[in-house]
Every structure is written in C-alpha cells, then in structure tokens.
Symmetry: C2
Subunit: 706 residues, 2 copies
C-alpha cells in the first residue's frame, strides 16, 4: 500500500489541477466504470454547503439555552426536523421519557473559617457577548448530581484520580467525611465523583484551574478564546463508564411499558452532591487551605502554593437542590432509503442539546448536519440514488449521558445489529482549524481518503495534507520523524458513538476541527465566541460538512465497502505488545497465554489480507453476489468483538477491544478488561480477560473467512 500512498501524495502535491485529476483517480471500493459518476456526485455535494447558511443555522440553534427536555430544546428539534424536511428528507421526532435533573434553586456554597463567606455559583455577564446576559442561563450545576446539604473540612485532591488519593494518603490527609475540591481534566467528571465517593468524601466540588483551560493557556474571553475567571464547567457526573443513557432503563429503551428502576437502584448515579465552580471562587477556597504543601503534580495556575487542607478550621457548606423528574426528550431522525440495499444503514449522528448555548458543543456539528442534509437533498433532486440507506440522527440529552442515542440504539438493537454498516459521529465539529479524528482501525484508510478530497479553508491544501503537516510539526524531532501518518485516535466515550460501537459492535468514526477552546460547557460557548474565535467566516463548518457527507456517500455507494482489517490487526497487535511490556515490568506476564493471542492475531491478519484481495478482485470483476457476501462479512466482523457477557462489572459495555477506561471515563482504554487487570495487578483476571479477547478475535476471523 506504500506505493499507492506515494502516488496519491505526488498527485496532490505536484500537479497543477488536482480537482480535474482527482475526477479520474481511483476511489477505493468503487468499480472502474462507477468512479467518474461517484466523483461527480461527490463534487456536486461538496459544492452545496456554504458559510452563510452554516452561520444562520448556528445562529438559530444558539439563540437560547437549550438543555435537554426544555421547551427551548424542543424548539431546536422542530427547527432541525423542519429544515431537513424542507430539503426533501423524511424527518420525524422520536421521543423518550428519561430521568433528568435541573437545579431547583441555585446551589449554596459557603466558605466557613473564622467567618462565613457565601460564594458565587453563577457565571458573569460579559458585556461584549450579548447572549451572556440571557435570563435562562442556569446557575452552575452538574447533571445527575443528587440534592444534598453537607458541611465539612475541605481537601484539595488535584484531578481526583485514584493516584491523587494515594498521594493524599502518603501526605497523611484523609478524605473520609470531608468535602473534596478537585480540578477538571485528565478524567471524566463522573469518574471524579465516583472516586471521591468511593474514598468516603461526602461532597465534591469541581473547578476549572487556569493552568488547564484558563489564563495560563492564553488570553481569556472576551479578549481571547480561553476560560475567564468567573466561568465554570457544567456537565454530567453520571457514571457513564458503568452504563450511559437513561439511568432508570439500563439496556432497554425508555419508552412506555418498559419497567423502570427506582432512582436509588440505578448504579450509574453518584450519591454525593457535586458542584462545579469558577476559578475565582476556587481561588477563595484554595488560598485558605492549610495542611501539607501539595505533592508534585498537584500545583495549578493560581498564584500561591496549593495546600492539601483537611484541617477543621477551613470548612465548606455545599447545598444542592435538584428537581428530578421523568422528562420528555426529542431525537430527530431522518432517512434516505437506499436504492439497492435498503436494509443496509449508514448513520450520521450529532447531538443537539447543550448545557447553555452550545455553539461549539454540539451545534457546530448540528449546523454541519443540516448542511449535509441540504446537500443530499439537492443530490436527490438531481437524481442521485444512494445504494444504501442513509439515516440522520439529531440526538437529545447527550449531555446528561448520551441519553438520546443510547435509548434509540437500545430500542433498535436487533435491527441495528443486522443492518448498520457504520455510525459516523460529529459532536463539537468546529472550535478551530486543526482536523482530528478517531475511529475503529478498519475505517482509517477511508477516513484518510476522504480528507484528501476536501480543501482546508485556511491553507488551500487538502484537509489531509494540512493534518499531516501539522502532525509532523508538533511531533518533536527526537521522537523520530518516522514518516508515519497522523494518528487516528481510539474511541473511548463522551459522545454518541458509544452505544453503537461499544454496546452493539458497529464500526464508528468521530472527528472535528479543534482549536483553543476554553469555554467548554460554559455560557461563553456562544455564537459570539464562535464568530470571534472558533470559526470567523464559518468556512470550517463547511469543511466539516464536506468531510462528513463525503464519508457517508462513500459508505452508502461503494460496491465493496472500504473496510480494512489489516489496520485493525496491526493496531490490536500494537496495543497487545504495549500491554505485554507493562505486564512484564509488573511481573504479571507469567500466567498469560500470549502465544494464543499472537496466533489469533496472525490468523486475523492473514484473513484480513485475503478478504481484501477478494474484495479487490470482486470489485474488478463486478461480481455482485460475491461483493454482497464480502460486504456483510466486513460489517459483521466488527460485531464479533462484542461479547454478550460484557465487560467485568459493567455488562452494558460489550466490546472486547474498545471501551472507556473505568478511571478515565472519556479516554479509551484499549483491550479494556485486560489492561485494567494489569493496572490492578490481578493476574487471574488478566488471564481470563485475554482469553475473551482471543475468542473475540477468533470470531472475527471466522466471520471474515465466510
């Protein structure tokens, strides 16, 4: 494949007419006689999205705060549905009844030293950003925090990771019965709540340290894109690493007739009150703490030496008052039926609900989705007949825990397992100009191919080329300029691909253009912020729509699907060899059957190569029945990584290669159970987990064989 890559690069770099030429160059998965037509449809599609239209979508979607389940959220659902309908697509609302909380009254936070000081739980108005004074902006709160009223000494626990509590113990600071204050970063906030609860803390305050996304990163809003002093990060503290979606209906759709757990039975909910605060408020608390000076790695960007606290003379009162209820949420689902393979689905998903205005997260993606919908609508009018069915999903309540997508995936599980070709996610599509992507390894080649056909607005290079150039720039020389391509990340969690990939085994992708984005989950993630910093000109919204739509068109129209399991085998081999290295350092390698794993991977790789050869042959000979079989095998091979027994202690997650780490929450921990067992120094579990992975790989190999 190296040679092909080189040629493509050559074409892109040196010839003066890349567009004209690309029309005649090959597209993987398409037979020679179909390439020109496919190129034309794709070019025609990419000509549709435009900055004015993308900007107007974003403006409309971000007029009001639209937390899941509110009237304003419903209005955005109707807007998306009606826009898609106006493009000629068949769009409907899909409702679920799910367990959600809003703050009933603003939380009460008091610092109690010699005196009592009431602390602020609101974000400040920024005069130059008109929406920052919107009356419906909520005070700072965490989704799925319980109500509570606790008073106790405060302990600073850094990022709130298990290792941080180890350091606290070493320093002689106990958190039992205390309130911890932790900073955002390095783990999902639900993990911070879970670990705090497990350690015996009775309350948890989470703040945004200026070292992480505030002034130490650059100018703060409204002068720059970073978090200002009076801004905090909202967000869910659901234990989504246990299970995501509606807390009361794990594994089943939140529809009428499905029995619901009592809230106290839900295992993905924390029992201690959790509260986010801004860093000016954190400063007031942290600067008062006594106790030992913080260990290495605990210091943040506030201008004093952090202390660990825990002394009785510095307490905090935290009172949270939550309004919990079953509430209606609204997904929007639109479909374009496939012309030849109606029962093969290519799904594009993006959530729509936001903690406040959500200009970046998620409505830059929603705007891109509407532009893709508009483009596909025009193609259909011009006679385009996609071979497979394309489904657009505008999810609700993602912010609470991927609720809209999980409920839908649970409701349609059987059908999805049979029919879904791939799930293509877009969440925060644009916060800057730097392209990044995550996906299962079988879709790496396709992802790269598509980015070669889209222009990077700023540089005029292809998105692919700019992505690679930047990766080379940021890799230091000493790390070795190995000449490899920019890494495509592993899918963990934190967006709506999770139910598709990790619960059902559907090949998934995620992507976006990133930048200096310090206003995450704050009132300043607004249209004004986007217009000033994220994407002035809205050209990256257009590029996001172009990449996403092209990706969907390739998958919807290909003769032989562009799935490459050689990359998958190589990636798993890499994960395994790294895990084995750790196992050896930790003296856990003895009982492991690494030979079985190596053999399974060898077989898998061999079979992947064979099926690829067959696919190319079948495309060349236009052998339709053979292609149908190969396509099904490629789609179903991913499904084989699902083990119905699920992961240890969290059976909702069933994928043997990819899941969020239990202690990362967002970030993927590949070979999940095996790798966690190594971290836990549990060689028996490591052995068993590895056996399950070997079985999964063997199942995938068998599927490819058929």
């Amino acid at each position: 494949m190296k040679t092909i890559l080189t040629i493509l690069l050559f074409v892109t770099f040196l010839l003066p007419l890349p567009v004209a030429l690309s029309q005649t160059s090959a597209i993987d998965g398409f037979s020679a006689d179909r390439i020109a037509a496919q190129r034309r449809w794709e070019e025609q599609f990419r000509a549709v999205p435009n900055p004015q239209s993308a900007r107007e979508h974003l403006r409309r979607l971000t007029l009001h705060p639209h937390i899941a389940g509110t009237k304003e959220d419903y209005d955005t659902a109707v807007y998306v549905r009606d826009q898609l309908r106006s493009y000629g697509l068949n769009a409907e609302l899909k409702e679920y009844e799910v367990w959600l909380n809003y703050p009933n009254t603003p939380s009460v936070l008091e610092l109690i030293t010699k005196r009592r000081q009431k602390l602020n739980v609101h974000e400040a108005v920024v005069p130059s950003d008109p929406s920052s004074s919107h009356p419906k902006i909520t005070p700072l709160f965490n989704g799925y925090s319980p109500s509570g009223d606790v008073t106790a000494p405060v302990v600073y626990a850094n990022y709130g990771l298990p290792d941080d509590y180890e350091d606290l113990k070493k320093a002689g600071v106990d958190v039992k019965g205390k309130i911890v204050i932790v900073r955002y970063g390095n783990s999902f906030r639900g993990v911070k709540a879970k670990v705090a609860e497990d350690q015996g803390a009775i309350g948890c305050i989470i703040y945004s340290d200026p070292a992480d996304d505030g002034y130490m990163q650059g100018d703060v809003y409204p002068k720059g894109p970073w978090r200002p002093v009076a801004s905090g990060q909202r967000g869910s503290v659901q234990y989504l690493f246990d299970y995501p979606g509606d807390p009361l209906t794990p594994g089943r759709p939140a529809i009428q007739g499905v029995p619901r757990l009592k809230p106290e039975e839900a295992t993905d909910l924390t029992r201690i009150p959790v509260q986010p605060i801004a860093y000016d408020v954190a400063k007031t608390i942290l600067s008062q703490l006594k106790g030992p000076v913080r260990p290495r790695g605990f210091q943040g960007g506030l201008p004093f030496p952090y202390h660990l606290g825990g002394t009785n003379d510095v307490k905090v009162r935290l009172k949270t008052d939550m309004d919990y209820k079953l509430r209606t949420i609204w997904n929007v689902v639109a479909r374009i039926d496939g012309n030849e393979e109606k029962d093969r689905w290519v799904i594009l998903g993006n959530h729509r609900d936001a903690w406040v205005f959500g200009a970046v997260d998620p409505n830059s993606g929603s705007s891109a989705m509407l532009e893709v919908g508009r483009g596909f609508g025009q193609l259909l009018k011009a006679g385009w007949k996609p071979r497979r069915t394309i489904i657009f999903c505008s999810w609700d309540a993602e912010e609470y825990g991927l609720v809209g997508s999980v409920e839908w995936a649970e409701e349609l599980a059987t059908e999805l397992k049979e029919k879904a070709v791939a799930y293509l996610n877009l969440d925060a599509a644009v916060s800057g100009v730097h392209f990044g992507a995550s996906s299962v390894p079988s879709l790496w080649k396709l992802m790269r191919a598509v980015t070669r056909d889209v222009k990077d607005p700023k540089t005029g290079k292809t998105v692919y080329q700019q992505w690679q150039d930047r990766a080379r720039e940021t890799a230091s020389e000493e790390e070795g300029s190995t000449g490899g391509e920019a890494r495509i990340g592993a899918l963990g969690s934190g967006s709506d691909y999770t139910p598709f990939l990790q619960h059902l085994g559907i090949a998934s992708t995620d992507m976006g253009f990133g930048g200096s984005y310090g206003v995450y989950h704050s009132a300043y993630d607004s249209f004004h912020w986007m217009d000033q910093f994220g994407d002035p000109g809205f050209r990256y919204h257009v590029a996001a729509a172009q990449v996403w739509g092209t990706l969907a068109m390739r998958l919807a129209d290909a003769d032989g699907l562009s799935f490459d399991y050689t990359d998958y085998a190589g990636q798993v081999r890499e994960y395994f060899s790294e895990a084995l290295r750790l196992a050896r350092i930790r003296n856990l390698a003895g009982s492991l059957n690494d030979k079985a794993m190596t053999e399974a991977l060898d077989d898998f790789a061999k079979e992947a190569e064979r099926v690829e050869q067959n696919r190319q042959d079948a495309i060349r000979s236009s052998d339709r029945s053979k292609l149908a079989k190969i396509n099904d095998a490629l789609v179903q091979a991913e499904r084989q990584f699902i083990d119905p027994r699920g992961l240890r202690g969290r059976a909702w997650y069933k994928h043997q290669i990819y899941a969020p780490g239990f202690y990362t929450g967002y970030a993927a921990q590949p070979l999940t159970d095996f790798s966690q067992a190594l971290d836990d120094r549990n060689s028996a579990v490591a052995k068993e987990s590895l056996e399950r992975i070997v079985e999964a790989i063997k199942r995938a190999t068998k599927t490819l064989k058929q």
Copy 2:
C-alpha cells in the same frame, strides 16, 4: 562486578552489625594487610565532625555579606586560614589581582507606558530573618554586567535560549534594538546575556519566575524554603563557556608581571547591561506587555497570559552603574604533605565568597571543609601518615566566574598536570537531604563505595542506600525498573572543578545534599534559612564532611588507585550511541567514521579491563613498583582527553569528552564539539570533531597500555 555488588547489598541490608562487619570487608585499592588500619583511620576521622562545630562555622562565615574582594570576604579568608592552622595544618592566603565589578549606585529600572513607574531593585526585609536587614546587602545586580543606560520596548523571551528566539521570530517579534526580559532557568545566565546580545538586544532583564523557584514550587520564605515575591537572583553573566577566571588574563595567572587585556578586549564579557529583578517587579512589567500571546512553553507562573511585547507603547529604561576595578582576592591553601608520594596531590576545593551571606552556596561546603580539616588534624596528631599529599583550597571569587580556582590552576598548571591525582569539589554542600553527585566515570565506583560507609542522618541507612532508594522512588515504573544504580551526573560547569577537569584533564568529582532551595543567590540564603529549612540540626553538614573526607582518604592512601576506565568507556559509548542516533535522524551520519570511534572505544574498554586486572594482581602481590606505574597511568589517562588545540572557538576548554554546552553554560554537553556540530547541522565539523575525540581516546588507551 554484579556479584560483588549483590554481596555488599546483602551485607548492608541483612546483617545486624554492619559497622563491625565493614571493618573487615575489603576496600578497593588497598592490600589485605592494610584494610583494617585504613578502616580504623577512616572511622576515627568520621567520628570528628559534629553538628555544633559545623553550625558554628556556618554562623561565623555568614555573619556578613562577603562578596569577593571585600573586607568581609577577607575576614572569612582569615577565619578559614586560622581555623585550619588551629587544627595543625599549614595554611596560607594566596592573592590574585582580578577584574571585578560592584554596583556603584543601585540600578535604575523604569517602566514607561502612558506614565513612568520606577521599579524596585532591592530585596525586601523579612522580619523573622535578622540578617535580611543587614546594611551591606547589595541591591540586585549581575557580576560582569557593564554600565549602561538604555530605553527601549520590552520583549519577553522566555528562558532566552536560541530556540526561544526562533519562536519569537515565528511570532513576528523582532528583538533588535529592544530590551529583553527573560526568566532564570534552563541555561546559565551568561548564556542568556550572550544570546540576547547576539540577537541584537540592547539590554537584558532576568527575573525569577514563580513557576521555577517561587510559589508554584511550594511555600515561600519565611513560611517555606522557596523564593518570595520580592526576591531576585544575583549572579555572574560572564561568558564562562568561552573562558572562566579573570577576564583580563585568559589562560594565565592574574599575578604581577602577567600582561593584562584591556577590558574591551576580553571576549568573555557581555556588552549590554544586564539586571536581575524579583518576580513582583517582573509581574509589573510582564502584565503590561502587548503583542502576540506567548508560544507554548513560554507561560510562567504569574497569574495572567504572558504576551511577547515588543510594542512601542511599553518601554523600559535600564540604567546600570558599575564600579569596575582590579581587586585583590584571597584563596586559602592548606596542605598535608604525603608521607611516601609527596608529589602526588589529592585536592579538596570549595569556594568561600558569596553574593550575600551564602549559607548554602557556598558556605555549607566551607563549613564541611573546616570539619574535614579538623578531622584530618586530629588523625595527624594520632599518627596518621597519608601516603600522598592532601591540599585544601578555599577559593575566592568563584561567583564571578571561578576566578580564584582558575587563576591558581593556571599558575600551577605544569605542576598540577604532573602531580594532581584528583580534584574533589564541594560547593553548595547542603540545601536538603538528597545526596547527589557528578564525576568523571572513572571515579563512579569510588564515589559509590564511599557513600556505603557513611550514614544518612535522617534514615539511619547508608547514604548510598538512601540515594538508591530515592532514585528508585522517583523513577516511574514505565521508565522501567532496570535495577541500575542512581546516575552520577556529568560535570559541566558552574563550579571550581572546571579548570581542573576541563582545562587540565584532572579527574574530578562534585557532590552535595540537595533539597527545596528557592533562595539561591538571594539575601535569604542565610544562616536562618539553613537553620529553618536546609539543615536544622546540621547533621547533613556532618555527613557531607564524612563523605568528602573519606573520599580524600581513599585517594590519598590507596595502594592501587580506585580508578575504573571500564565505566568511562561504557559511558562514552552511551554518549556516542545517543549522538549517532540523533545524527541519523538529522541525516548527518553519512560522513561520520563511526567505525573508527567504535574501534577506539573497543580498544579503550579492553585496555581498561586489562589494567584493572593488573591493578588487582599488583595489589594482591603488593608489587610497589608496578603499582606506581599503574597509578600514574590511571591518573594520566584522564589527561589524554585534553587536546591542546582546545574546543572550537573556545580554546581554553580542552577536554574532548566533557565541557559545558555553549548554550547551556552550566550543564555538561558530553562529546562537546561533536554534539554541538550535530545541533548546528554541520556535518564537516561533526566529522572533524569526532576524529579529535577518537584521537583522544586512542591517546588514553596508549597511556593505559604503558
């Protein structure tokens, strides 16, 4: 050697009577019949130093600020001389006339925006530290800064490294004709001045960022050991990477009759005014800067996003007014003549002059030296007759650029080349409890052996064991617990071993007990600081004296000197393989004769092994004439690394393996010219430099052969 090591560890760990046992265990370099006596002398020596006495020395030495060449400096010289004499040693003052500056009037620093603001160049009084109000504390100034009066826009240039100026260029900020403000750290301050001057800056302000040694490291003085807001770092800005010592007499002693350069001819002096400031003053300047937001890596610990400045509306006036003169400095030199080999010298050196009180730097070492002197005095009275001559040197004007030691080494160069066995340095001996050492690789084994015979005061383990345990703790698991020993560092510059090792080729060591030391070169490096934070109880002063004295006794008394060139060969091989790896990444390896180097190293290693075998045999057979030849070969092998042509563009430095990096100033850059040529992407120079290194290794091999 692995087995021997294991046995020793076993002995240290498990047997209940390590002291009793160690008296019968072997000492490398001593014949069987002499071990017991040597053990007895060493034990007797180590029983002498005590905390009360060490504390009293430090108190006396730090009563007044004693900058080189002042009356108070002279008083400390007399105190050291008289103390040594009182122990029965033959001690004398040794004077040189050297070029030194003091501030004539305090520097003037003004921030000029819409208004003019005068900024402080003094350190604040700390009420709980009585000496901080001493009237003779100088205002903040840099040794060897010229006088000047410049007004220009300010540019923030991070650490002032060449790469930082590259980043400034990328950001479109030009420093030509401007004043740069840079932070301490990552390079010697003279390098900061040199690079600023080379880049066209007309003035240079250096401040201590709280991220580096202030509040972000921990509690600040007087609450903790770190630098408080109103403290700055004094220090020399001599280009000591060009040549150290008296600027007017490079390569020659600053004594009567030696012709002197005009100051404007000295190539080791900067031409732009340089001024250190405290971080509260830096905050006033930096918070006003406009221009682009700083690139990655430029942000420090002040609570705002740093900007690069360079705009015309934010200027600084810097006026320095220096009193330059030829001034008298006073080394103290004391000697104990060797009983059998009077013309073989073991030299212990420590400087005595300080920027202010210098409790850590350097007088913790001076106190230790007096305790070693007291111990040796008592041994002599008890009949100890060291085989070789021992020389104590209390250097002056080290702070300006190793002036006292360099002038002495230059004066005695011929004799030293013939007679010096080793130079054992101690500068800041104690700022905490963590032992660390640097030395030529041939002395690693000896250094480790000695630390096995001294107790760590806090833990009761041996210094060796505590050193290793801590190294293991601080190495992260993923780096691999390879089971290796704690690293002994490479000698760069910044203390008085430089003339001995790098100008003359005398095997050298340096060491100390380090800790949280934020008051470096400030008025708070005081007796009170030491008593509170550095070494309350003064037991580490005692341990430093014990290690240092034992090291000297081993070298002074050994039958066959404990030099190991196998370690040297291994270390150089490691340096070379790392350099070659870089050369390959940078496509510079083509023209290099790496085969010649590998062969030279193979021969060297083989010869090292052979000489070690011979040494062991000769010790066993007590073959005195053979031992004399072997000892001379071991001592002279180091001398062969000296190339009389010197390093490129700085001929004073002549050692082919070890020198300070041109752009580090303090830190060693092993294989110096070769490694610099690789950094400069100059393959012709790399080739030639490597050839010189190969020649040096061959010379050393030949010397060992004899």
